[in-house]
């Protein structure tokens, strides 16, 4: 909210999620928050570590109402409330939540507002609360992230302008987009997988692996060489299942 809206007596504060929290000075927390209308911001919560009531509210994966002051590098937290009670993420879904947060922390610069991406994040967290399969939720968010940050190709067309055909094979070139290729190309994926990806069909066993590889391939150049810790944890959680 801007200063002018506050002076006209409208509500202050913004809807947001905490992406990361770490100790700051003796009793404070340094939060990284995702706000619907202002994007990612650094926020200092003064005395939050010694304030049990506030500490209890400052949790990851919960929709919060946050009242912030200050426009500089770091805002100050004036007040926080829980918007609504969302059951806590548990087990594997919790690691998936961390994965979404790690993606945003790595890829989204501060002060870059993406309301649509915020809504996708909200939906993804809500879905993780009740999902029996987490993978489709992760794929949906990865796709939305690529689209919102302008890194997604036209899913329905190869780079030569031809519509994707279910029976043909393609590979993802991170520079040029979707290229037709031969079936034995090591990176070849079926056209059907691309069509499923385009229509958000993440549930079909036959295409799920292809879709994961395609999305991860598109994210890779932006993520840099340092591996995502949460993805390592997910692998561990998979490996033992």
């Amino acid at each position: 909210m801007t200063a002018s809206s506050r002076s006209t007596g409208q509500a202050t504060g913004e809807v947001g999620f905490i992406l990361h929290a770490r100790p700051w000075r003796d009793t404070s927390l340094l939060l990284e928050v995702l706000l619907r209308d202002s994007g990612r911001r650094g926020v200092v919560a003064r005395g939050a570590r010694s304030n049990v009531k506030q500490r209890g509210r400052l949790q990851l994966f919960r929709p919060l109402w946050l009242d912030l002051a200050g426009r500089g590098e770091l805002a100050q937290l004036r007040a926080v409330e829980e918007m609504r009670i969302l059951p806590p993420l548990q087990g594997r879904a919790l690691i998936c939540g961390y994965y979404l947060n790690e993606l945003l922390m790595r890829l989204l610069p501060r002060d870059d507002a993406h309301p649509a991406l915020f809504d996708e994040y909200t939906r993804a967290i809500e879905a993780l609360v009740s999902a029996t399969k987490e993978a489709p939720v992760l794929r949906g968010f990865e796709k939305a992230l690529l689209e919102q940050l302008g890194w997604a190709p036209d899913w329905n067309m190869s780079e030569d302008g031809q519509p994707i055909e279910a029976g043909r094979f393609y590979r993802m070139d991170t520079e040029q987009g979707i290229m037709p290729c031969l079936p034995h190309d090591p990176e070849a994926v079926a056209g059907l997988s691309l069509l499923h990806l385009a229509e958000q069909n993440f549930d079909t066993a036959a295409s799920a692996r292809d879709i994961r590889l395609l999305l991860h391939r598109l994210l890779a150049p932006h993520l840099g060489s340092k591996p995502l810790q949460s993805r390592e944890l997910l692998k561990l959680s998979f490996a033992v299942k």
Partner: protein, 198 residues
Amino acid sequence: MQLSPMVNELMEALRRLPGVGPKSAQRLALHLLQRDRDGARRLARALDAAAERVGHCTQCRTLTEELVCSLCRNPQRDRSQLCVVEWPQDQWSLENSGAYRGLYYLLMGRLSPLDGIGPRELGLDKLEVRLNSGEITEVILATSSTIEGETTAHVLSEMCRVRGIAATRLAQGVPMGGELEFVDGGTLARALNDRRAI
């Protein structure tokens, strides 16, 4: 006032302690030098010896100057139970409760993917070796009730599950004397989830 280099160094050193500011450092230094020289010498010797020789138990990773700590060597302890905690202070709290007779494993932290603290940093590989020994039949997950503590407990419970070892979590919920109005949503949700018949 210009302090002598030694007095100054003592005060600077005391300020390494958490919560000790310039005023407290001055007070502590004056106390040791003016009123309690014997105490000062003893503190110096204890600090020097501990800093030199205290390491981690090769079995449970707690702080000790021995290769294997006395708790791990104690034949009275139940060797089939292993309680996993984050820090030595958690182990000490549980010991003080007097309600536990098994062994411990200390992680010295908790999984925190965005801070770069993963399974390797917590020595989960060593814990796996311990679980593979076949001696342990129950693992009690006493990691904190923070999100990181929950994440850690999940990964540990999976490690137990594949080995057919029972894993239990410390019960959590509304604190003693806690009025519902002042309990946060997450704690309430968990307390509801883990409710029991009376």
